[in-house]
Subunit: 508 residues, 2 copies
Amino acid sequence: MAKTSSDTILLHSEDNVRMALRAFEAGDTVDGLTVSQAVSRGHKIATREIAQGDAIRKYNQVIGFASVPIAAGDHVHTQNCAYRADFERDPEPCAGAQPTDFVPASERAQFMGYKRPDGRVGTRNYIGILTTVNCSATVARMAAAHFTPERLAAFPNVDGVAAFTHGTGCGMAMDGEGFGMLQRTLAGYAAHPNFAGVLVIGLGCEVMQISLMMETYGLKEGERFQRMTIQETGGTRKTVEEAVRRIEAMLPAADACRREAVSAEHLSVALQCGGSDGYSGITANPALGNAADQLVRHGGTAILAETPEIFGAEHLLTRRAETPEIAEKLLERIRWWEDYTARNKGVMDNNPSPGNKAGGLTTILEKSLGAAAKGGTTNLTGVYEYSERVTTPGFVFMDSPGYDPASITGQVASGANLVCFTTGRGSVFGYKPAPSMKLATNSEMFARMSDDMDINCGVIVSDGVSVEEMGEQIFQEMLDVASGKRTKSEDLGFGDNEFIPWQVGAVM
Amino acid sequence: MAKTSSDTILLHSEDNVRMALRAFEAGDTVDGLTVSQAVSRGHKIATREIAQGDAIRKYNQVIGFASVPIAAGDHVHTQNCAYRADFERDPEPCAGAQPTDFVPASERAQFMGYKRPDGRVGTRNYIGILTTVNCSATVARMAAAHFTPERLAAFPNVDGVAAFTHGTGCGMAMDGEGFGMLQRTLAGYAAHPNFAGVLVIGLGCEVMQISLMMETYGLKEGERFQRMTIQETGGTRKTVEEAVRRIEAMLPAADACRREAVSAEHLSVALQCGGSDGYSGITANPALGNAADQLVRHGGTAILAETPEIFGAEHLLTRRAETPEIAEKLLERIRWWEDYTARNKGVMDNNPSPGNKAGGLTTILEKSLGAAAKGGTTNLTGVYEYSERVTTPGFVFMDSPGYDPASITGQVASGANLVCFTTGRGSVFGYKPAPSMKLATNSEMFARMSDDMDINCGVIVSDGVSVEEMGEQIFQEMLDVASGKRTKSEDLGFGDNEFIPWQVGAVM
Ligand SMILES: [Ca+2]
Ligand SMILES: [Ca+2]
Ligand SMILES: [Ca+2]
Ligand SMILES: [Ca+2]
Ligand SMILES: [Ca+2]
C-alpha cells in the first residue's frame, strides 16, 4: 500500500480515488482535497478531475468508467461511475505462474485431526443425517433432535448429530445440471471426513433417488454409511425410531475416533466473503490471502469460489494458472455464467447487494478485485465445478454463486474441512460439519458484533497492524480451529440451517 | 365410472386400457384378457390391439400415443406409450361455464374461526417469525425454540411460535420475477389470518430488504407486525434476546383471540397432490373435487395449483372459465411455463417422477387429467400468479410448480387457511400456519402409513364407497379441522421445515 493517512487511504499511486476511512460532509478538507458532497466511510473520493468516459482506478486496476464528468473531491459511486465489460482484459494464461516456495515436508505445520479410512482427515467428528428431498426434512430433524447434549454425554468425542435439510430434491428434471449438482453435493457430504458416520433419509418417490447417487459415486452401505426411505419404513414415527436406532449403533465407533497429529497438507480451507464493504478488499481479504499463501506453502489446499465475485478479475487468476487447461476451464465457467444469467434474465453486474453498495462498493469489478485478494498469490492448481471433489493441493477455484450458504455448501461438499469467512457488514454465519472462522473487515463492526466475530482484521486500518502479521495470526488460528478450538459460531450453535445446495434449473 | 371388477377397472367405455387393481403375472387372465407381461398394481393393460401412432385413451381422454404396435393384454407404459404435445386441444373459453348452485347465505355451513382486524378469518392462531434471507434463519429458529410448550402453557389459545426459514433472499437479482415472487410470498405470510402476530427478522445487507416489502405491500409496523435486523441489533445473541422480548409482548393479545362461528365463505382451501399413483385420479382426487364443489356452493374458495400437472389438461379448465380474460390468463401462464422450462433446458413432460412412473402414471397428460380432478366441476372464477392474494371466491387457479412444498407455500401465501393433500405413494407432510389434511388414494398405503394419513379415499376402490359419500366426509372434515381439530401432521409436529418459496432466476 502506497500512502495512508488516518482519514483516507490511497491504495496505489496511480489511483484516481481515495477511500474514506471516516464520514465526510460537504466542504470538509482532507489530504489536499475539498470534499464536494457527504461521503460515507468506505466510499471513494476523486483525487483529481476525471473526464466522462475515463477509467476510475483503484488497486491500480480499472473498476469502472466516469459516466459524467467528475471533479476532484467528488463522491465517486453509482451516480457517476458505471461498469463496462468491453475493455481489454487479456487472460494471458500462465503468464504470472511462479514456482511455489514450499516448506519442506518435515518442517510443515501440523494440526490434530481425525484420520479416516479413506486417508482424508477430519477437523470435527459429527454424525450426519442427509436428506434427498425436502419431504424427509422434518423426519431428519426429529431424529437429530433426539440426540440432545444429555444423550450424547456418554460420547464425548462426538461433536453432535446434525441434520442437513434443504428445499429441493424433487419437482426437478431427472438429469441435467441441476440434478447433477444436487447429487454431487449430497455425495460430497456423504463422504466428508468431518463425519464419523452418515445416514441418508429419503421419502421414497422423489426424483433424487439414493440408489442412483450411491451407484454414481461408488458409495457402499456399511457401518459408516446407511440409508432408508420413509415410504419403505412405514411413515414418520417408524422412520424416526429406526433412524435413532441406527445412529445409536454408530455412536460407539464414532466416539472411539481420536485426534492425532497430521500435516497441514490435510487442511482444506474454503475462502469466503459475505456482506462485503469498502474495507473487505484492504483488510480481511488480503490478510486471508496471506494466510492462504502460507497454507499452500505448507502443502494444504485453499479453495476460492464465488464466480460472480471474481467476474471481471478472472484475468488475474488465469495469469496464475499452472497450465493453459486450468486457465481455459476457468474461462469456460465464466462463459457458462454469462449464459446462465442471460437466460435467467439477469446480468452479472447485478451482484453488489444493497448492503455492498451502501458499504461503498460501486461495481462488480471493484468487488471482484477485493474478493480475489482472499486467494493470495500462489499458482492456480485447479478449477472445479460446484461441489466437485478437490484433488489438487494448492490454491484452487471452485465454481459457485457468491451467495454465502450456497457457495460454502459447495466448498464443503468439495472437501473443505474449515471455512474462513470475511465480512464487513457483519454476516452471522456458521457451518456444519466444517467449522467457520469469521474475520471482521473493520474494527467498528467487530466491536458491535463481537459475539459473532472470531478475528478483527480491521486493526490493519485502525491500529496499523501489517497484512503479513494479520495473515500469520489467521494461519495459526486455522491450525487451532482445525485441531478443535471452537469458533464463535459453534459456541452460538449455528450450522443447522445453512446447508443450501445451489439450485439450478426449473422447479417443476 | 363405467364398469369395475375386483381386479381391474375400466374408467370409461371408450377407453382402450384398464387399470390393474392388483399385480398380474404373464399369462394371467382377467376380464377376458390374457396379460402378456407382469403388470404392477395401478398400471394399465391394453383392452384391444392399438396400432403404432394411435391414441391411448383413459378417462375418455387421450393420455398418449402408441410408440410401437400394442396387443390386447400388453402392459401399457413408458416403453410403448409416448406423449405428443401437438394434438388438438381447443381451449374454447367459457364453453362449459354454468351457473353455480349456491347454498343460500343463511343456510351455509359454518366453522369456528379467528376473526382478524382486516375481516379475514384464521383457522389457527400462531405467532410467526419470518425471515428475509437464509442469513437470519438460525436466529429465527433460536427465538422460536425459546417458546417451548412449557413457556407457552400460560397462553393456551396460541398454537405456537413458528419460524419460517428458507434458502434464498440474497445472491439474486434485485428486481424481476424471482425477487417479486419471494417478496410476494413473504408479504402474503406477513398478512396471513392464521397469525395473531408476526415478527420479520433480516440480516441487514441482503437483497430482500424488509422496508421495500413493507412499502410495496402496505405493511405497517404495530403490535401485530414488527421487524428487526441482526446487523442493526448487534449480532446473534442480542437479536435473539430482542426477538424473544418482542414476541413475549405479543403473546397476551394473541392469547386473547377466541374462535367464533363464521360462514364457510371464510374457508380457503389449498388443493394439492404429491406422490401420486394410478389411484390418485380415481379415488382421492375426484373425492376432493366433490368436496371442493360443496365448499364453493357454500361460498368458500378452492385453490387449485401445480401448473405443470394440469399441463395438457388446461383446455378442461379454460372451458370452465367465467370470463374469456380468466381463460386467457391461464393460457398466458402455460406459455410462460413453456418458456421457463425451455430456457432452463427442461421440458414439461419431465414431470412424472420415478415414483409417479413406478405407480403407473405414464405421461404428464395422464397425471394432469387425474390431478385436475381435485378441482371439481364449478366455474373457474380467477387465475392468480404465485403467492398472489386470492380475492375471488369459488374455484380458482394459482400458478405454481407441482413440487409440493413450493406449491403449498404459494397457496398459503395467497391466503389458503387449510390444505387438502392427496397422496398415493405416501407423502408425509404438514404445514404451518395452515393445517394440512392428508388423503390417501389407496387402502394399502393408508394401512401402512396410518400415523400420517387423515382420511382413506382408497375405500372407493377397496370397499365400494361412492365418490360423493367420500366428498361429503372430506367437506365435513374440512370444517372440523378449520374449527381446530388437529390433523395427523400437527400431532406429529410437522410444519417447521416446509416453507419453500418457489425460486426462479439465477442464484448469483
Ligand atoms: Ca462475497
Ligand atoms: Ca456475496
Ligand atoms: Ca459469498
Ligand atoms: Ca402433484
Ligand atoms: Ca404437488
